[in-house]
Subunit: 149 residues, 2 copies
DNA sequence: CCACGCGCTGCATATTCATGTATATTAATT
DNA sequence: AATTAATATACATGAATATGCAGCGCGTGG
């Protein structure tokens, strides 16, 4: 299952320095995901991983400065693809996605660095956004709805 | 005939992991419903089944569908089996389970679609329920405690 | 009693999607 | 610059799923 593999890739990359797709392929194989380099190339593109300049290891692009516009574009795409429902609750925002997609959408939200957002938590099909206050929560809902369309 | 078949599909899907329409076709044939994949494609659309990303198996969409009573029954069972502790915090409710059981209980909670619940997030042994407000959070705690016993 | 409309279905085929293979392209190394 | 390593991509394949079309059975209004 592809989405599982994508999550595994994020997990691997987060926990150890992976410097080539071949290396990543081996790590994934150890976890039971057997695929070729070509597939990883596509996965990496889809996840938006980049090579850290310091040591050449892959990592999510949010950590280095990504141009805001790029991140927002990706967020819009992710939203229109995954978002099922969005609702503010006090200073929180609850988003629903299709099964197994919450992690990916959560990542896209993190990357876009919305100023109103303090942090996010993603489960399987639910994301919780913590905003600074009620006003900001409402603002986030509006902003995300706009981006989704 | 059709409605019988639809019910059979729900029953099959609920009791075993079905990962393709072909597989489903075989299960149904064993129960006396002989139809083609094309028909199942239409049935699945009508029932609103989706593929769970965890294992690629079909399941009723957690967002809608599934008879309330069934889901509530399953929830009661899951609660009595897994729930260790439950506590409201403002408009949130924090539940503790045994290790690795939070996902299962979280799923059961989602499926039962309690009106007070906006969403849930499950980790390994902790579930966070987001309610609409403090009152609702208290109501959820009471309801779940009742169901558990 | 009949012609018509409509829902349901199968058949055949189109579409979608993930992936591997082979190769082109780009980057690094010497 | 030449060589090699790393990555991206064109093309093809296979699996799963969706769908256009035609036939069938059934109920209804004529």
């Amino acid at each position: 299952m592809k989405s599982q593999r994508l999550l595994a890739i994020l997990d691997v990359v987060e926990h150890e320095a992976v410097r080539s797709q071949e290396q990543l392929r081996q790590r994934l194989a150890a976890r039971g995901f057997v695929v070729t380099q070509a597939t990883l190339s596509r996965d990496i593109k889809e996840l938006g991983l980049v090579k850290r300049s310091a040591d050449g290891a892959y990592q999510p692009s949010s950590i280095e400065g990504t141009p805001q516009t790029t991140a927002l574009g990706a967020l819009g795409k992710a939203l229109s693809e995954y978002l099922v429902n969005i609702e503010p609750v006090q200073q929180l925002v609850v988003l629903r996605t299709g099964a197994g997609q919450a992690q990916l959408l959560g990542l896209a939200i993190d990357r876009s660095r919305l100023p109103e957002v303090v942090g996010t938590l993603a489960g399987d099909d639910t994301i919780l956004i913590i905003a600074r206050d009620v006003q900001n929560a409402l603002a986030v809902v509006k902003k995300l709805k706009d981006l989704a369309s």
